[in-house]
């Protein structure tokens, strides 16, 4: 039975050369992760601790959120609470219009992607400039990320080179060298940093004991975005709160090692106060479904995720089908699961994008049982057709009389044309159990 994922994956696989590159690239990242993990004797201990800290924090989230918000307020930060995407978007718009901001630079945030913030702000006349290089490329191209950490991985340097020529970022034509293109983007983004009225970041962690936001980047774009404008807005999902610096040490050590195979990101930035006396710092705590997921007895542990991306890097299906084959904006094993939490009707097609090999849960730094969760979703959410087949089989096999009669007349269905009966499916003239082996 084909699903939306399998159909899109089939299209992805048509370009064999690119598929091989995609597969090998992510396998390379996975190998990098392994080298990092094996380089630390305490790795498995860290995973256990990371999982336990998250379980503890999530099971006392109300207490930690209050502590976080209280400490942030003491630091002079304006804390906002957004129940859903709409409320989040309107809070951001109010802050910006209140300060007369026309242009905002921002670093990477999957949360703003989740809430559809950029199109909303742009519809209200505010220019939003992505400053993570990958995100900027996608913004210029009008595309969505295909990976949560390496968003523009589906584009080649020629694609980017042509895009930059088209947008006037490159000088002249034909130079598609990544170093040159990165430099041209640097010059172009520098102008944006200098002319923006506000800077926005996401958050990798919120520290309850200090009320700080911690952001990890390699490019330093979160720091550039917030060091020049006087207004800073940081968006954080509720589940990103952790107790204190000791907990942060555990996660900081694992995030980048798991995600990209580096020992650390280049920048691990702690934002506690507004940048200057006449500046403002707003933190927006976003629910948008998270409290509801927290109450889901079978799947609440998915909220432990720190968005490192290691589950998709290792996933044999992701590596060979690409981020755009999934219907949810986060792909891979964690995306399959989060999509099911968000809207099972819409995203159950992604459940087919899993071989249950379990590789994801072996690398997950916070020990989410991602593949087991997908298995569980499959039991909970059979597609309508599968549900019908299962209930008919259940009735037939439970009752010998029905079974004999049913399998005895099943061959009458052979006259049905496709698509009612696929060409490869033909029913025998006697009950299944009395078929000889060679008849099967």
């Amino acid at each position: 039975m084909s699903t939306q994922h399998s159909k899109k994956a089939a299209a992805f696989l048509k370009n064999q050369e690119y598929t091989a590159w995609h597969d090998a690239t992510f396998w390379g990242v996975r190998v990098g992760r392994d080298n990092m993990a094996m380089g630390l004797e305490e790795w498995e201990q860290l995973r256990q601790k990371a999982s336990e800290i998250k379980l503890h924090t999530l099971s006392h989230l109300d207490k930690y959120l209050e502590q976080f918000a209280g400490n942030a307020a003491k630091n002079g930060v304006k804390v906002h609470w957004a129940a859903d995407a709409d409320e989040f978007n309107s809070i951001v718009l109010d802050i910006l219009t209140g300060s007369g901001v026309k242009k905002m630079v921002k670093s990477k945030s999957m949360l703003t992607e989740e809430c559809g913030m950029n199109p909303y702000l742009e519809a209200h006349g505010i220019e939003v400039v992505e400053t993570d290089l990958g995100e900027r490329i996608l913004q210029l191209k009008g595309q969505a990320p295909s990976h949560i950490v390496m968003p523009a991985i589906h584009l080649s340097h020629h694609d980017v080179g042509e895009l930059f020529e088209q947008k006037g970022i490159s000088e002249g034509k034909g130079n598609h060298d990544p170093t040159y293109l990165t430099y041209r983007a640097r010059l172009s983004l520098r102008k944006e940093f200098l002319s923006a009225g506000a800077g926005m970041t996401g958050a990798n962690f919120g520290i309850a004991s200090t009320g700080e936001i911690v952001v990890c980047t390699n490019e330093g774009n979160a720091d550039m975005s917030t060091s020049i404008p006087k207004l800073q807005i940081s968006a954080i999902g509720l589940e990103k709160i952790i107790p204190d610096y000791d907990s942060l040490a555990v996660f900081q050590r694992m995030l980048c090692r798991s995600g990209t195979g580096q020992p650390t990101t280049s920048y691990t930035s702690f934002f506690r106060k507004a940048r200057c006396a006449d500046g403002e710092f707003h933190i927006i705590l976003v629910d948008n479904g998270r409290t509801q997921w927290l109450q889901n007895p079978a799947h609440w542990e998915l909220l432990k995720c720190i968005r490192c991306g290691s589950c998709m890097n290792t996933c044999p299906v992701y590596r060979r089908s690409g981020g755009y084959s999934y219907s949810y904006f986060i792909p891979g094993p964690i995306g399959i699961n989060l999509g099911m939490l968000r809207s099972p009707e819409e995203h159950q097609g992604n459940l087919s994008a899993c071989t249950l090999c379990g590789s994801c849960q072996c690398v997950c730094p916070v020990k989410i049982d991602l593949a087991d969760q997908i298995y569980a979703w499959r039991q909970e959410w059979p597609a309508a057709g599968k549900k019908l087949i299962c209930s008919v089989m259940n009735a037939v096999y439970k009752n010998e009389g029905i079974y004999r009669n049913f399998t005895g007349i099943a061959h009458l269905a052979n006259i049905l044309p496709a698509p009612w009966l696929p060409f490869y499916l033909r029913f025998p003239r006697k009950p299944f159990h009395s078929l000889a082996h060679d008849e099967l």
Binding site: E42, W81, T131, L133, R190, T264, S266, S269, K273, Q292
Partner: protein
């Protein structure tokens, strides 16, 4: 009911997982943390130079960056500096800085991170400079992030950053490039 009350109400669960001990983590330690720090700094694309006792830091910086024209620092010992992040009119005035010089407080052997709390009015100097130099006392190296997190202090400016190597990206075709949006090179000067 405000969103805050509603959200907090919905966060209350019947689960009760204890906070794990973290003081029993058998974190990596090195026989010589300084050697490991130097090796890691190189691995992340940074450079480490040692200031010999009795030598002038300005001479060293000039020899390392002979072509630097605009040099920004608020450190009194950096007489080369011709821009001061404490007194510039705005952060944007630091654009075009060839060399920024700041002080780091803690170096981390396991990953080359250096704790740089904001100690200047315009922290942009740490990012906007083409080349960044961090002065770090040689004895300020710890083994790992657990040790570092116990020591860091975010000062009155309300900002601090662990910096490890220059600004990097691999967003174009997974090719590693130094110098994305922030400093294109990082040099750590170890002070005696």
């Amino acid at each position: 009911m405000s969103s805050k009350e509603e959200i907090l109400g919905k966060c209350r669960t019947q689960q009760d997982y204890p906070m794990p001990r973290l003081d029993d983590i058998a974190a990596v330690k090195y026989p010589d943390p300084l050697t490991q720090f130097v090796a890691m700094s190189a691995a992340v694309g940074g450079k480490v130079v040692e200031l010999q006792p009795g030598k002038d830091i300005n001479h060293l910086l000039r020899s390392l960056f002979p072509e630097a024209v605009n040099i920004a620092s608020n450190l009194p010992e950096i007489s080369l500096a011709n821009r001061n992040p404490d007194t510039v009119g705005s952060a944007a005035e630091l654009d075009g800085t060839d060399l920024g010089v700041v002080r780091g407080e803690i170096g981390v052997a396991e990953n080359g991170c250096i704790w740089v709390p904001q100690t200047m009015k315009e922290r942009a100097v740490c990012f906007i400079s083409e080349n960044l130099v961090i002065l770090l006392p040689k004895e300020a190296i710890v083994n790992n992030m657990h040790e570092a997190m116990k020591r860091i202090r975010v000062g009155d400016y309300g900002y601090g950053c662990f910096i490890s190597g220059p600004s990097t990206t691999a967003d174009i075709a997974q090719v590693l490039v130094m110098g994305a949006q922030a400093a294109r090179s990082l040099t750590v000067v170890l002070l005696p």
